[in-house]
Subunit: 398 residues, 2 copies
């Protein structure tokens, strides 16, 4: 067989991690804190059934839903992104500067197509979302981790690494970060936008969790501080509407959007039309506001259950993040427990999580005693049982 | 702004052609033979409304449709691909060697991710589908056109160019080819499979039109002749189900599928779930057989109307392909008419087509007097009117 492309070697490590993440958790008796899914109970099944019955008619939007559509995405949905989702955050957007993508992660792929040559440097948070690292490595980018603290990414370290590595891009998840659940404060957001402008670097702001806020004050996106168009705002409908619909969007300056449209054409022509129409009608018919309240209520209860369960079950010396929203907390165990090893024994306890080391680029050994804990798609009852199991397992190691 | 990646220069020419193709035809009074869409009248709107009403329930498949799904695609749909679509063509397929993609073209993108390094050579038909050339050029492949005749791609020329250029891949649309409508005979199919095996080259068989056959005998896919796993079979649900659903599939040897799954993960995680479920249920409930008959009846009538209209309206010396199926014919005008120039004047005649030159890789000047004519989404009445307009335009140039 002909040789695989060089990029397949570059992504081999992260691809193996991702395969492990998605492959491991199939035992129905296991309570998994591993995935990144929102609550299945909150998915808008009934509303979409009603909308589908209306639009899938020949005298309604049936042909539009099933025939070829525009590369850039349904205009109605781009207008909702601009008017309903971005304008209230202080970002005035022309809907023609929005591209609808096949799930939020597709933006990372398309943006790499547009900007990344092999060997280009991308600065990431340390830890960061490993799935995006896999994408960056597929494009043969060199990923460099930047220091984070309890407030998230440290702009001082970013500036120093910009000077040292001359990166093309800085990748940051500012709100309820994946994997830590931390949220970057306003002054650091402003500072990152400034760094992008000053050093001519793309700031890739990935903000899929922002609307799942259960406490604290809303913060403006990094993009709202940007004066030069260096910040690209990637977002997703996965957490606020439906992950399986694979809908996301990207907002960027027009010159970048034009190129993204070309590479979208050369990736999969356009995003599936029926999910776009269902999503647009979901907003247009006013379902979203009520849905978001329900979504936040369910996830807030789970966040609180998780915090109580951590308090109750984790051994002394354990640290964890109290997330104001989103789906994750980050747990740092005391002593020299290796969570990658721990995970192997977790199967016997019928509990799962994601080991921390995989979220750090370049096998630094950091995060060995850490884990990402997701409470999004686990009921409070199961959180209590699962965290008891996890506590038992950890204590057996001390 | 940071520089765009080098690949953006490589794809600039084909991207401009593609933008032109999709952008030009917005005047509702214009009769367009330009697009590649199947008949809107044949889209299964009513069937999908019925299925959606059933599956979008919490006690049915509502959560499955809206929650995250498997990277490789819905198992039920992969089983339908294997059992209903491939087994009757003499290809015994394990559903685990099938990957569901976001529209047939995504396969070209993913396969390039897996195999193509910058500078690698891909042999194409001359003419070939320009949209795929755009994808290949985005991956900085060097596309080389191979000779075709009235029977399609000439394997002698392919072999010679394999020896000359040592390509990674040969891209071929064997059935009702885009843009010519020609169909490759069985002996050439067998020969191509053998060339792939002998010279260790991937044969990328793109076969989206095969089920839209209106006359002649069905032919086995190239893949059915393959003994070494060098042929990768790409196909699409766009023509036989719905283009806007963006559903396609690829069948390849397991070692290739594993890599395709990794790059699919790093492209957009998975294909939208609701369209996959609707499509699988469409087959499972037995709608497909009747639908395909209707689809072929509608398109056969249009093909026949187009052949009659060509006969009636084209000047003496014009040659065209009689396609046994699919959506296209290829028209070669007499004299030195440049169809790229002709297209500019066609707007005034309110008719559109696609000029031939863009389908030849590398600006060779070939196809200057040719055009691709699509009859898929134009009613017989409009075919008659539109071809009269086109005939008037062409005669005004002679």
């Amino acid at each position: 067989m002909p040789d695989f492309a060089k990029r397949m070697d570059c992504m081999a490590g992260s691809a193996a991690i991702i395969r492990g993440l998605f492959g491991a958790m199939n035992d129905p008796e296991t309570i998994s804190f591993g995935g990144g899914a929102p609550a299945s109970e909150a998915l808008p099944v009934e509303q979409l059934r009603e909308i589908a019955a209306d639009v899938l008619r020949r005298d309604s939007r049936g042909v539009e839903a099933l025939q070829y559509g525009p590369v850039q995405g349904l205009k109605q949905l781009r207008e909702i992104v601009a008017g309903t989702l971005l304008a209230p955050r202080g970002i005035a957007v022309d809907p023609d500067d929005v591209l609808i993508v096949n799930g939020g992660l597709e933006t990372m792929n398309l943006l790499c197509q547009v900007f990344i040559n092999p060997g280009d440097v991308i600065l990431c948070e340390s830890p960061t979302f490993v799935h995006c690292v896999e994408i960056f490595e597929m494009f043969e980018a060199k990923c460099i981790g930047c220091r984070t603290d309890d407030l998230g990414l440290d702009p001082e370290d970013v500036e120093q690494k910009i000077l040292q590595y001359r990166p093309k891009m800085v990748y940051v998840i500012p709100t309820f970060q994946n994997p830590t659940g931390r949220t970057l404060p306003a002054d650091r957001r402003e500072r990152l936008a400034e760094l992008g402008s000053r050093y001519d670097v793309i700031i890739l702001e990935d903000d899929p969790y922002r609307d799942l806020r259960y406490s604290g004050e809303e913060l403006r996106p990094i993009r709202s501080f940007d004066r030069t168009g260096h910040t690209v705002l990637a977002n997703s409908f996965s957490k606020i509407f439906s992950p399986g619909s694979r809908l996301g969007y990207v907002y960027a300056d027009h010159g970048i959007i034009e190129k993204l449209v070309d590479v979208k054409t050369a990736t999969n022509s356009h995003t599936s039309m029926l999910p776009q129409i269902l999503c647009a009608e979901f907003f247009a018919r006013g379902f979203y506001e009520e849905h978001l309240k329900k979504l936040c209520a369910i996830h807030r209860e789970r966040r609180d259950a998780m915090m109580a369960a951590l308090e109750k079950n984790m051994p002394e010396g354990t640290r964890w993040v109290f997330p104001d929203g989103g789906l994750f907390s980050w747990v740092e165990l005391p002593g020299d427990i290796d969570t990658t090893e721990l995970l192997k024994e977790a199967a016997a306890y019928r509990v799962a999580f994601i080991a921390g080391a995989g979220f750090f680029v370049g096998n630094t050994g950091e995060g060995k005693n850490c884990m990402r804990i997701s409470y999004g798609n686990v009921t409070p009852e199961k959180i209590e049982i699962g965290m008891k199991r996890l506590g038992d397992l950890i204590r057996s190691k001390l």
